[in-house]
Symmetry: C2
Subunit: 521 residues, 2 copies
């Protein structure tokens, strides 16, 4: 960054981007303000980092997470001071639950100015710490390369996590001659032989392997399938994986249910649950008379590989220990296209019938997508991301980041109740010309809340509480909203129409939105 | 809240709403989730609290702030766990800078469930503390009335502030027989006679009174005008007032400029700055070679009334001490309607020419509204709110809350760079049928950032940094976006058209949006 005609000086901001780029940061999703101007200016010197403008911060952090999920490399977001970080906090929460390496860069006040308490000043330290990852405030330009390297190391873990690096605005503009450190994603921590041996002994018909993380890659699924088959053990998938290989050639696992009563029924026959790349699942909320844990009280829960540990290596060791032979996958054709009314079932069937190989499916379908995993199990090989931290508004941003990070098309399934938290992601998809198909699932209500509300007793029509679950009055027009953000859009009200729109969208470059309106109940 | 046929039990959630209602909370802007279901259900028993659904949390907290600014009563927002609070944090920051009494209610996990670390669990304590007001986690249903009363007391101050009350989901559903405490906004703290005397002695031609808070009410302005006239002192307005009485019959003050160099020039002749209901203004950001303080280094800064102290009482005492006679205001007609190209100047003139009495103007016009205060000084009496905390996305939510809290029309001026942070506020305006005119000021760029970026050196067209300041490619269609949210909208590209649209919108009930597209530079 330099004024016209001046000799170039390598600044802290330059050192920061060079270090990030060397460490795998190929894009930065930015919603900058005044205190980030040195960081922004230095992007002009670093064409290896793709600078992508987003219109609000939930998009920045969610896109960084999506990029990280599909690439395994750190995703980066550039946000403005405390309010910018706060706006991006929810999707950092989702990234934390996904173990995604995500770096939130914040331009901050120098200490001398912060002492004056300018109007944008806030408790940035407390806010950044509450993200629950790693946080540093960098005050010196001379060491910004080191700060960036330390932030990347912290983000990569293992396991991966969101980190916040606040950079004092003046530091970013000071000279820095540090060499560039190339930080690579580290290998996962090895699993001890005794742990593998204990799992081998425990495996049997009343044992279940619960898979998450790297165990949900194609290779992990194949190994786990061999292990389970050798001992007639069950295979389960964690309820909300960050990303899972799915479709033809991959084992379709039974997914632990969101509803605790259903999950408890699933796990009733499990005497020992062996965790592979995940943690013990628990109920999402506290309900009167329902246990928070999902396994039986007398069941054992053991860990073969915790998040950050080498789940693949542990599964390989188990395969060898058991002498588990390879298993074959019967080639499956895609399921037939559905017809008739648009329902959650036919919607998922339409996705299953039209999915093309290599697609990344971003699932924020909430109640409308309950059948997704079954419906796409015979589709061409694809990957699915889910709402790891249950904070709404991850879908559109994650799709943006996934599209920047992957070669194939992205298909985002977004419930209408989720859409408005981060809708401006559509504009960045249009600007960047990304191949994303967005399907908004329109039931015009917070269906999940209606269900929760009914648990407490009757809910009268027209009552205050009924009004708070109801997304009609007026109906949102998602086609108009998409067009407002520069994304071509159409509406589908039958299964046939949805199939036709999905096929058409996949055949054209750039983003497309389909408003899928369910038949009335 | 009760199941059909059961005897009603008064629950913690009931006690909470009864206490809030008795303390002035007439509306709650809600974006609830599962852990808020008892609080939502209890709203059915309390028709005195208007339950207003919003589609994202920045709208909830910003609307609560707007309600508080226009009514002086506490505004309330209901949000879901840590991510919900984080999404609303920015507008709580703006509320903190506005000294608005705002209550953010969060449904939380009971401790036994939190101990399991469910996926939505986060460091809520750290996050809520970082808001910088008051925070409590309420775990017992039996004392929820007291918790609500304590939260209200903390919110009212003085000065007012944002508070966070997290309510364990099970506590809200337990019995509570506490009586209802009626918490009223307290009187401001009195100012000591010696302080008034010191100000009286200091007043003179090289003294300036800097007004904020209650000093910017019609009564405060009148008193301050008399004081200043009696001693030939200057009157200044704080740069970002929460709400100020303006227009015919009110003194138009010189507003301290946002740009520090300009503000320093304004204050160069001031030997003593006397603060009345505000704090010392400082530069918004740190700039190389520019002092952060705005007064001369050798100037004195004294406080007649700090925020939360009785600015009106202090001004009354000063008037009496000085024997300052009443001052007359020449009756002014509204300024003429502008014609020709749409520019920041003609836009402000169009507002000035069409403003109706009693309007609340919500100003988030950023660079496009520099001339607003001058342009509306002769318009019928109105009030103006500003971006107190500089966190973008306050305008549309504040307009929503202001419209719920006031009888007259609300006019929101929102820069295109600000629009996308909280656009779903439009839907709640439509649903509630509120008389709001929204003008989106479209220059298709982050003009303020271009200016900051140019400070650092040249910015090449097509460069990464230029791309990050540019809101075109594609152009956002604000008419389509408004229609998507259910708000009728039109576009104006000339001053005449804007005047015509503003008049038409003010004559029809319900919300209207005008996309005001500036002539190219």
């Amino acid at each position: 960054m330099r004024a016209n005609g001046e000799t170039a000086t390598r600044l802290g901001a330059n050192a920061l981007w060079e270090t990030l780029r060397a460490g795998g940061v190929a894009a930065c999703f930015a919603n900058p303000g005044t205190s980030e101007m040195h960081l922004v200016a230095a992007l002009d010197d670093d064409p290896g980092v793709r600078a992508i403008l987003v219109l609000a911060e939930p998009v920045a952090t969610g896109a960084a997470d999506g990029f990280a999920r599909v690439t395994g490399r750190a995703g980066a977001a550039l946000v403005h001071l405390g309010p910018g970080l706060a706006n991006g906090w929810s999707n950092l929460h989702n990234a934390r639950r996904a173990h995604s390496p995500v770096l939130a860069l914040v331009g901050d006040f120098p200490d001398r100015h912060r002492a004056l308490d300018p109007l944008l000043a806030s408790d940035l330290d407390g806010l950044a710490a509450s993200v629950g990852g790693w946080y540093r405030r960098a005050l010196s330009g001379a060491t910004l390369g080191t700060d960036a390297a330390d932030a990347l190391r912290a983000a990569y873990g293992p396991p991966g996590r969101p980190v916040v690096l606040a950079v004092a605005s003046d530091a970013a503009g000071r000279a820095c001659d540090e060499p560039v450190a190339a930080i690579a994603p580290p290998a996962p921590r090895p699993v001890e032989t005794a742990t593998v041996e204990a799992a081998a002994r425990a495996l049997g018909p009343r044992t279940a392997l619960l898979l998450g993380g790297a165990a949900l890659t194609r290779r992990g699924l194949e190994l786990a399938t061999r292990v389970a088959a050798a001992r007639a053990a069950r295979l389960l998938m964690e309820p909300f994986p960050a990303i899972v290989d799915h479709g033809a050639g991959a084992t379709t696992l039974e997914r632990v249910n969101y509803v605790p009563e259903f999950a408890q029924a699933q796990l009733a026959e499990v005497d020992e649950l062996i965790l592979v790349g995940t943690r013990e699942p628990v109920g999402p909320f506290d309900y009167e008379g329902v246990a928070g844990r999902l396994v039986r009280e007398d069941a054992r829960v053991t860990t073969l590989a915790a998040p950050g540990e080498d789940a693949l290596g542990a599964l390989e060791a188990l395969v060898e220990r058991l002498g588990a032979p390879p298993v074959g996958f019967a080639p499956l054709g895609p399921p037939p296209a559905p017809t008739g009314a648009l329902t959650p079932e036919s919607l998922c069937a339409a996705v299953g019938a039209t999915l093309s190989e290599g697609t990344v499916v971003v699932d924020e379908s909430i109640t409308s997508g309950l059948h997704l995993f079954e419906a796409t199990s015979a589709s061409p090989a694809h990957r699915i991301t889910t709402l790891t931290g249950h904070a709404l508004g991850y879908g559109l941003p994650c799709a943006l980041g996934a599209a920047v990070g992957s070669a194939g098309r992205v298909l985002a399934l977004v419930a209408d109740g989720s859409f408005c938290y981060s809708a401006p992601a559509l504009w960045s998809m249009a600007r960047e010309g990304l191949d994303v198909t967005v399907v908004v699932l329109v039931n015009r209500r917070y269906a999940i809340l209606e269900w929760e509300r009914h648990r407490l007793g009757s809910m009268a029509e027209g009552s205050a509480s009924a009004s708070l679950m109801d997304l009609s009055r007026p109906d949102l027009d998602y086609v108009a909203l998409a067009q407002g953000f520069g994304v071509p859009a159409t509406r589908a009200t039958t299964a046939e129409a949805l199939v036709e729109r999905l096929v058409a969208a996949a055949g054209e470059p750039g983003p497309h939105l389909v408003e899928a309106v369910f038949a009335p109940r």
